[in-house]
């Protein structure tokens, strides 16, 4: 998939949890993505995050880093 498409989705999710969850936002963003994104999309955004995460807002970038770790 186009990475811009996934980056925009991740940033949009981050915008909601930024206001709702404050410092816990990265964990909530990661949880949302884990719950609703198909594994191939998750793999792609994780790879993108690992490569620097261009275009991702800071909280989304932190969330993608959490996503790369196995779910608790």
């Amino acid at each position: 998939m186009h990475i811009e498409y996934l980056v925009k989705m991740a940033n949009d999710i981050a915008a909601f949890f930024h206001a709702q969850s404050g410092p816990d936002a990265p964990r909530e963003i990661a949880g949302h993505i884990r719950r609703f994104w198909d594994p191939r999309m998750r793999r792609q955004i994780i790879d993108h995050g690992a490569a620097g995460g261009e275009g991702l807002v800071p909280e989304a970038k932190q969330a993608i880093a959490l996503l790369a770790k196995p779910a608790a």
Binding site: M1, F16, R35, W37, D38, P39
Partner: protein
């Protein structure tokens, strides 16, 4: 006339303490306020009547229903006289007989009783009553008559024959009381009295919305369905559920042989209480339209002509292609789409096929593009992905708030209920960029119309919440008892911030702060405040946030858990609720349970005898993206038209065109079928058994009226496909599928065909705790336990106007057409709406040199199309509006890929566009016509060639 076999009780049901009286010597007990006529009918005593019917208030004009009451003088009308304790009524006597005969003879003096009746006339109440009172002719022959007047044949579905009219006013009252349009009147006085549509206009040119309530109310066949006149008397009746909008009206299909003569709303129907609209009552002709495809077809390439084949060959070909694709590209390279136009049983089977036979979770449903934010937003806040009320609840609302919905066009029968309540005095708040009918209609003016800029719902809702909180209108006791305290404190602090005040948001929303404050106060102070919303809430980049904002507002004001309040999403299609309930989303099993839940997944795996995936699958827009990047290659689509209904058409069609095998199951060769390789002929709602679940969670029966025209009901096709894929399914009927759903779904545990037949319909949850269903949810506690407030920060959409695209386009629906129009375009409803038009404000039109009816180009960042303009102030300056019922309009060529952050529901409601006057169709429209010709060709089958 009533539906076949319906026993009319004369006047409406009332609620009251029991009253016992005597009628013709028999003791009868009925609620106080009941008419003598109804009490008698309940005791199987039929009093002759003409102007009375139990769907309308008593009128007392025909004088046929006179009775005698012991101790009272004269002969009171039994329809307008209510029962009293100890009353003794006589319905038969020599004097009554004489009076009734005299009345009937007068009626017949101006009625052609002598002529051979048509099938419709033969079944009229007038003739039945004449027979009942023993009158077959009139002694007043030779008197003046209203004979020889021209019929009004202007409406495509019914005719008005003034020669048969007795001016009883039932049609006028039906238009007033049942429909609420007030299009009819009695014009003139005395002998000159006549029924008139609007200002004595032909019906088609009048304000009549063709709901047919007047036709059903008519006791003489002066108003009569044209089909009744042309086809003849129906011989049998089947009670089923309408296949159009989310109101889910119960209808009685009356048939002669296998032809539907007419469709009559079921007066016992709990969703519609005996009413219907122009679509449900009249627009069923698509089911037998010549465009129906009734033979399976296949082709190797979408540029090949379609080749008709047997069911077995089509099924085998589809299965072999799906197997080939999975072998080549992997198990996750295919998926399926369920339909909100199909039954619960059919959608359940499609998602089961994807989970069990495809072996992945790539299933989604068309609710993705309409109400998926409702599911997410309501689940997150109150714990259940569904509306909280029954439709009848609106009758107890004091303040009604309609947000982003147009019920009188999109949900007409509920719209009529709303009008009744509003005319009885409820206050009305409308939050909509456009002036919908309810903003101002006879005897209704919205108390507040918050005409916001498209895309600013969340800011408006936050501002309303700000007023409620800052002005002390919260119901603290309700919140303390029912809601999560910490979430409330966080939310309260958020909405209290001055940045959320009406004054601060006015420049963003365009809503004057004073108006917004007044509206918020009205809702906050309401005894019962009810919110109804539609796609104007969900189809935004913040669709889910807006749903949460609505849920928050209702929690803060204590508006849950009783009649007259609540949060009610109005669902666009008949089975949106059901298709969502049935596990059609790629992360869920039935009843919204996540696929990662080991216990739930284990239950399904055990029942289905197969290992199931624990990871979410692809959503529809994700499928398109995956198709374009080459990892998604095959789709099974039941009853959906993604190529017309989904946004950014060129993107969608590029994705569909890249598939190696698309299997489509539909009534017609729709837009999506142009990209298909296998076509399974679908069955209409008349041709199958099953259930639909409407917007109030009401599960109603769909009953087969005729055999499937293509030989198989839709669920049978899915079973065959699954079997061919190597995952056997065995059901003897749709009832067995529902039994399996009930076995695996806690909210459906008590639902079966038998239960529905007993109760008429049932609202889920239906289980051990609620064996007869649940009309009102969250009564003593929220489904999730404590209601959870969520912070709903307004985030402006990235779709912005600029000098190149200075206007905002928003889209919607109109009364006579339905969704992509595949059904209604193939009926006479095109008389009212034969093309999509672009509504533009006079100021915007003038600066562009556009006049009403001109062709205009609409260009966005996604694409451009051409429509004709309607210049109107229903839209505000800076906003344009269109519908998407006709594929050649290309409304979705213009809409973009923007979508809701939580669910990917597309942002249909906000597209920045430029509008210019043009002379030619758009390039896309030219390409569309050429492509359509190429991709819909069918091989000619030589005469005499057998088909299986």
């Amino acid at each position: 006339m009533y539906a076949m076999n319906y026993e009319d009780l004369g006047t409406p049901e009332t609620e009251g303490a029991p009253v016992t009286l005597e009628i013709d010597g028999a003791t009868v007990t009925v609620p106080a306020g009941t008419s003598i006529m109804r009490a008698a009918a309940l005791a199987d005593t039929k009093i002759p009547k003409l102007c009375a019917t139990d769907s309308l208030k008593a009128f007392g004009s025909c004088r046929l229903c006179l009775v005698e009451i012991e101790g009272r003088k004269d002969f009171p009308a039994s329809c307008t006289t209510t029962v009293a304790p100890g009353m003794k009524v006589r319905t038969q006597s020599t004097q009554l007989d004489k009076l009734r005969r005299g009345v009937m003879e007068l009626y017949l003096s101006d009625y052609p009783i002598e002529r051979d009746p048509t099938a419709a006339e033969a079944r009229t109440e007038l003739r039945a009553m004449a027979k009942a009172v023993g009158v077959t002719s009139t002694p007043y022959d030779g008197g003046q008559r209203h004979s020889g007047q021209p019929k009004d044949e202007s409406n495509p579905y019914f005719t008005f024959d003034p020669d048969l009219c007795i001016v009883c006013s039932r049609c006028v009252r039906a238009c007033d009381e049942t429909q609420g349009t007030l299009a009819l009147t009695v014009q003139g006085r005395g002998f000159a009295s006549k029924i008139s549509a609007s200002q004595d206009e032909p019906f088609i040119n009048s304000e009549c919305v063709s709901c047919g309530a007047c036709v059903e109310a008519c006791p003489t066949a002066a108003l009569s369905e044209k089909n009744f006149l042309s086809i003849g008397k129906p011989e049998r009746a089947v009670t089923t559920t309408c296949a159009y909008c989310g109101v889910g009206c119960s209808l009685v299909a009356e048939l002669k042989d296998d032809t539907v003569v007419r469709m009559v709303p079921d007066r016992n129907g709990l969703a519609n209480s005996g009413h219907a609209c122009v679509k449900g009552r009249f627009a069923y002709g698509y089911a037998t339209h010549p465009d129906r495809i009734t033979t399976p077809m296949i082709r190797k390439s979408i540029t090949d002509p379609w080749r008709e084949v047997s069911w077995d060959e089509a099924i085998e070909y589809a299965a072999s292609e799906f197997k080939r694709i999975q072998a080549k590209y992997g198990r996750d390279s295919i998926g399926g789409i369920t339909s909100s136009r199909c039954t619960n049983e059919e959608t359940y089977l499609v998602q089961k096929l994807v989970h069990a036979a495809f072996g992945n979770n790539n299933v989604d449903t068309c609710a993705r593009v309409c109400h998926s934010p409702t599911g997410y937003g309501l689940k997150s806040t109150i714990g259940e992905s569904a509306g909280t009320q029954a439709f009848v609840s609106v009758a107890k609302a004091d303040v009604i708030c309609i947000i982003g919905a147009n019920p009188t066009e999109g949900h007409p029968v509920f719209g009529s209920r709303l009008k009744r309540r509003l005319r009885a005095g409820a206050k009305l708040i409308i939050i909509d960029p456009r002036a919908t009918e309810l903003v101002r209609t006879p005897h209704i003016t919205a108390d507040f119309h918050l005409q916001l800029r498209p895309g600013t719902n969340v800011a408006v809702l936050n501002a309303m919440a700000h007023v409620v909180v800052s002005e002390g209108l919260t119901r603290e006791q309700f919140i303390a008892e029912r809601c999560d305290r910490a979430s409330y404190a966080q939310w309260k602090a958020f909405v209290s911030d001055p940045s959320n005040s009406p004054e601060a948001t006015e420049s963003v929303t365009g809503v004057p702060a004073e108006t917004l404050r007044a509206a918020a106060r009205a809702y906050g102070k309401a005894g019962n405040g009810a919110i109804y919303y539609g796609l104007g809430v969900t189809e935004h980049s913040q669709g889910s946030t807006a749903v949460m904002g609505i849920a928050n507002l209702a929690m803060a004001t204590g508006n849950y858990g009783r009649e007259g309040v609540g949060v009610s999403p109005l669902r666009g299609q008949n089975n949106v609720q059901g298709s969502c309930d049935m596990g059609s989303f790629p992360h869920e099993f039935t009843a919204y349970r996540h696929v990662s839940d080991d216990k739930v997944r284990g239950e399904f795996a055990a029942d289905w005898g197969v290992k199931l995936e624990s990871e979410p699958g692809l959503r529809i827009p994700n499928m398109f993206e995956a198709a374009l990047d080459g990892t998604f290659k095959g789709m099974y689509i039941q009853g959906e038209d993604l190529a017309q209904s989904d946004p950014n058409t060129q993107h969608v069609t590029a994705a569909l065109g890249s598939l190696e095998c698309m299997v489509i199951q539909d009534l017609f060769l729709n837009e999506t079928a142009k990209f298909a390789h296998v076509f399974f002929p679908g069955s209409s709602f008349l041709e199958k058994d099953g259930t639909f679940t409407n917007a109030e969670r009401r599960v109603s029966r769909v009953r087969k009226a005729i055999e499937p025209i293509a030989g198989l009901a839709d669920w049978e096709v899915t079973v065959k496909l699954s079997n061919a894929l190597g995952y056997p399914m065995h059901y003897k009927d749709a009832g067995e599928i529902l039994d399996e759903i009930a076995r695996l779904t806690p909210t459906f545990k008590g639902i079966s065909f038998k239960k529905i037949d007993e109760l008429g319909s049932v609202q889920w949850p239906c289980n051990d705790e609620a064996p007869d269903g649940t009309p009102t949810m969250h009564v003593n506690r929220f489904v999730r336990g404590e209601g959870r407030f969520l912070v709903t920060e307004y985030v402006a959409t990235s779709e912005r106007v600029n000098s190149k695209f200075p206007l905002l386009l928003t889209t919607g629906r109109i009364l006579s057409q339905y969704n992509v129009g595949a059904q209604t375009r193939r009926t006479d409803n095109v008389v009212w709406h034969s093309e999509d038009r672009l509504e533009i404000h006079p100021h915007d039109a003038e600066t562009r040199g556009i006049r009403d009816g001109d062709w205009v180009g609409i260009a966005s960042r996604a694409g451009d199309t051409v429509l004709r303009a309607t210049v109107t102030d229903r839209v505000q300056p800076g906003v344009v509006y269109t519908t998407f019922h006709f594929p050649e309009s290309g409304a979705n060529v213009v809409t973009t890929d923007n979508s809701d952050w939580a669910t990917n529901c597309p942002e249909y409601k906000v597209t920045a566009v430029q509008v210019t006057r043009v002379q030619h169709p758009s390039d896309w429209q030219v390409r569309y016509r050429e492509f359509s010709k190429r991709t819909t060709r069918r091989e000619r089958v030589p005469a005499g060639t057998p088909s299986s």
